[in-house]
């Protein structure tokens, strides 16, 4: 599903709540299993949230990947050169960082992916590449919840569209 809505409507907070990163009320279940019955880190591996501006905690880009060879297999599909892994993170462009962060998250093989403006900083070509990687994962059974300002993106990914405003999530019928 794809969620649109005005800035400050709480789209990111909604994703963060589903990933159990922010305190909130209510229950969340995946395949009938209650989130509260699982340790939070295990839930977050399965229901992975990727922030609009992902954080980095090592100087070198490659250090964020436990297995470099796995990262390298996914990089060409997103037009990234494996040499980028040897660069310090601050030398990478915003778009390169976003795509690397997406790879970092996909390598965990999440069942649900919560993406916050994944293509906001990308040029049209990179956006197409990201969308085709996501479409491939969707075919393999990934559940995607996407916050986006790009209304066409939902259609390209064949997603249900929802609108979040004033604390209400309403379906958009097209």
């Amino acid at each position: 599903m794809a969620i649109t809505g005005p800035s400050g409507a709480g789209k990111s907070v909604l994703l963060r709540m589903v990933a159990d990163l922010d305190p909130h009320q209510g229950a969340v279940r995946l395949n009938g299993i209650d989130r509260a019955s699982q340790p939070a880190p295990i839930w977050r591996r399965r229901v992975a949230y990727l922030a609009a501006e992902p954080g980095w905690w090592h100087e070198q880009a490659g250090a964020h990947f436990p297995r470099r060879d796995e990262a390298e297999t996914l990089m060409p599909a997103l037009a990234l050169s494996p040499a980028l892994l040897d660069q310090p993170v601050h030398r990478l462009s915003t778009g390169e960082r976003m795509r690397l962060a997406l790879i970092r998250t996909l390598l965990n093989q999440p069942a649900v992916l919560l993406l916050d403006e994944p293509t906001g900083a990308l040029d049209p070509h990179s956006t197409t590449l990201v969308e085709s990687v996501l479409a491939e994962r969707l075919r393999q059974g990934l559940i995607l919840i996407l916050v986006t300002h790009d209304t066409d993106q939902a259609g390209r990914l064949g997603a249900e569209r929802w609108h979040l405003e004033s604390g209400r999530l309403t379906p958009i019928t097209t």
């Binding site: 990163l21 939070a40 880190p41 977050r44 992975a48 922030a51 954080g55 980095w56 962060a101």
Partner: protein, 263 residues
């Protein structure tokens, strides 16, 4: 060798040096002379009071009174640690982290010294326990407040990095380890500087005092070495303690990073 005892007249003569500062202040228009005189009088009154209080406590020398006085000192030090950082943790988090850290550091190192190297009779003798606890506290306070400040100011800066790891399923304690490391390092560095410079750049106060009081330099140096090692221990415990205690107040049962607990 007996110490040279000072008379009130000796101190009065020394006080003339403070007057030199006051005259400098008036001549240069620093407007500091009033503060300077007040500070000198405060220093005299406070130290005399402490002297009489210690004489009283040493004379009575009951474990309960000794412990009470040390606890009071610990409480004041804990409050100082809590007040130093710009950021404050909710629900008295700064106070709890500061107090636990300095209390742990002081009790562990002071008891250790009293039970191993010093061994006075009785081991809780006020004459040894109170000055020892005082030195440990002063240093633990410094280390704990530096470490706490580094942690609390770092947590907002590193928020994106920590949450990115949490979102990948990393445990809270692993995601925050670099920040803990930075905070502890900040707390421990000063004692390393002091130990490296000891005797070359500075003659430590305790040692100087003991030499002036008539102890042989070698004996005074041995005391100073013991104290340095104890201080290193106290600094380490205080820095690690305040960082971990504070970090524990920044999370919840679901291993979230609760920056909303920080104001």
């Amino acid at each position: 060798m007996n110490p040279i005892l000072l008379t009130p007249l000796d101190l009065l003569i020394a006080a003339s040096l403070v007057l030199i500062d006051a005259i400098v202040s008036i001549q240069l228009g620093l407007r500091l002379h009033r503060q300077l005189i007040v500070a000198a009088i405060r220093c005299t009154v406070q130290l005399l009071l402490v002297g009489y209080l210690l004489r009283f406590v040493f004379r009575i020398d009951t474990p309960l009174l000794t412990l009470g006085l040390i606890l009071l000192m610990v409480a004041i030090a804990g409050r100082e640690v809590a007040a130093r950082p710009e950021k404050k943790l909710a629900r008295y988090g700064n106070q709890i982290a500061g107090l636990s850290a300095v209390a742990l550091a002081t009790f562990v190192t002071a008891t250790f010294a009293l039970a191993t190297a010093l061994r006075p009779h009785p081991w809780f003798s006020a004459r040894y326990a109170i000055p020892l606890a005082g030195i440990m506290l002063g240093n633990a306070l410094n280390a704990a407040s530096l470490s706490l400040d580094a942690l609390l100011s770092g947590v907002l800066r590193e928020r994106a990095a920590i949450e990115a790891q949490l979102a990948l399923g990393v445990r809270f304690r692993d995601a925050t380890k670099p920040l803990i490391r930075t905070a502890v390092r900040r707390g421990i560095l000063p004692v390393i500087n002091v130990m490296s410079a000891a005797g070359i750049v500075t003659l430590p106060g305790i040692m100087t005092g003991q030499i002036l009081a008539g102890l042989s330099p070698i004996e005074a140096v041995k005391y100073q070495i013991l104290l340095m090692f104890l201080l290193a221990g106290a600094n380490g415990i205080a820095a690690v303690g305040s960082a971990y205690f504070a970090m524990a107040r920044l999370t919840d049962a679901r291993e979230r990073l609760r920056v909303d607990f920080l104001s």
